[in-house]
Symmetry: C3
């Protein structure tokens, strides 16, 4: 069976770091298929990584190994982990990257990566600055080669969870926040889509967006609220960027009214 | 046989959207190999997508499934399609993305994607905003798994074609336009390369570029015209960007003289 | 056995050039796996390519085919080559891209690519401007399909080497230079890590960076010197960019003192 590994990092694509990780994985698990998800995450942005991972971890088949390396704490005492959740593996620093998986999975178990062997080929020994190559890639290779979770490290029961803030309801008004902004400038909120009535309005940064079923129901340039592909309330501009129009950023308050 | 899928989108590489598409494809067609072509196309630029696709669709072997998702009309009534052309498949919105394939292929047939099943794993049901994940990826997975064109949808005979403007000839003067600009700032035109005589000149934005056989025949910084790797007349600057030097953009007029 | 090809280019990811190369490789070697390393190298920056390649060429298993296309001299008389070094292949223009491999490999041999056949599918014939598609991809496909080095071309014993400058020592002071800057703004130098004593300081652009074992030993925003994942002295800012803080660029002088 072909094993599949995915990569999500903030390494960019102007250097050889991604190649170093892939080389270690390919060396440890010949024939493995490696899918890039994204390498241009904002540098060190663990929360953005958590939301990006949420979009795909469970769509891949069981057995897939998802590697996430957004690691501002490399070289500190932060732990490294592998999570097994609904048959998929998540290999990442223990810094909150896996928060959305921890919240969404029906069950999970985790190990630290204390038993992962840095491969011989990394000649200078395990570095203090590039655990993507020296810890996470070898862990992924071991899993792709058939290792069990326990071969990677000791059980870990308290992975760092950065909880998603909960929306609050008061009468017909729901207060939430922008949790992620995508490349099109759409604003993803923490408000469940079922709370967006067809006649609702969303208030954000002094502006009001009317609920629409889809982009096709809006005119070009209109600020609208709709149910995103993740089932959340999203604020968007048809054919434009809501983030740019509103000067919005993550954490901005939104209110769904009526 | 390993099936091969390629992806061309404007999703960027700072998010999880590409991962969502790949997850659905990998889940539906285990062992499939997925090649990224590009994910940084200008947002919503269907014409740029059409020219990018032209550069590779026929170089891949027969049986390859090319997925293109540049989809400003998602959520409107625009159709989705799969084209079979010279043994390759093109899966994309019916918005002109496939225009160059329609023009270049010796023959083709097409279906809409009305019979594509959104996979169970996409829990919120088929979304109105992310057909890359909910329609195009499942169609690609079905093809990679061996489905016939007819299993995807009903026959479609009028895919949207955004025709390439034709150059016009008058005496020794050929009038054309810039149809695409690449990352190096080279200006690709619609004028066939065989119309560029060795002694010809190309006029563009008040400047004149002399014909050269290749970059090596020009001095550093020289504005030149040459036959591109697509067999078209191209305007370039050796070691620089013609687009920047001329302030050129798509649609600018060019004239090949003499 | 699945053959593996890696790609490192400056083609960007907003066009179809990468797709054209992959198509030719996939057509010539069905079932091949192609790993992207990076496509956003600074345009024409051969030295950056050489340092990027250094990070991964030997981490991949023997038999891997590394393709590097940063080719400002395409269309001039510069040669094309394939290098076999420690069981891996490097396919690239003969412009210095392979310099770090030539320096690091215990042994190598090389051929020019004079016998490579441009595939029939590239209909306009071998172009003068896109050797990535017309020369390097076909060479990679041939190797992936089992060709020997000799089938690609004639022996070549003098590939272009852009030597890395050597650091110079005088008393307790080592003078070196910045050789590469990564996406995080870390400054990689040519000074071997073993020359960085625990009590050493690094002088650069009028500032002084104290040696630290790892980022975790520095406070946020501190300018530090440490041993990089390549075993070199590196200047960094914890949680920030040393390049931005110092206005540093490649070639800047550094001194390791004490």
């Amino acid at each position: 069976m072909t094993r599949r590994v995915t990569l999500l990092t903030d390494f960019g694509t102007a250097d050889g770091f991604v190649g170093a990780m892939k080389g270690v994985i390919a060396d440890g698990a010949p024939g493995v298929v490696i899918d890039d998800v994204a390498h241009d995450l904002p540098s060190g942005d663990v929360v953005a990584a958590a939301y990006a991972l949420r979009r795909y971890w469970r769509l891949y088949p069981e057995g897939t190994i998802h590697v996430v390396v957004v690691d501002p704490g490399v070289g500190t005492s932060r732990r490294a982990l592998t999570l097994q959740a609904e048959g998929r593996f998540i290999v990442c620093p223990d810094n909150g990257c896996a928060s959305r998986v921890l919240e969404d999975a029906t069950s999970w178990r985790a190990v630290d990566l204390s038993r992962v062997q840095t491969p011989e080929a990394v000649r200078t020994g395990r570095s203090r600055t590039f655990h993507g190559r020296d810890v996470f890639a070898p862990a992924a290779a071991a899993l792709a080669h058939g290792a069990s979770l326990e071969e990677l490290g000791a059980s870990l029961t308290d992975p760092l969870l950065i909880p998603e803030p909960s929306p609050t309801r008061s009468g017909t008004r729901v207060a939430g926040v922008v949790v992620a902004i995508d490349r099109f400038g759409n604003l993803l909120t923490n408000v469940p889509g079922e709370w967006l009535a067809a006649s609702a309005k969303v208030e954000i940064r002094g502006r009001t967006a009317a609920a629409r079923a889809t982009y096709g129901d809006a005119h070009e340039g209109e600020l609208i609220a709709l149910i995103s592909s993740d089932g959340r309330v999203e604020v968007a501009v048809r054919g434009g960027s809501a983030a740019a129009l509103l000067g919005a950023s993550r954490g901005d308050e939104v209110a769904v009214v009526g």
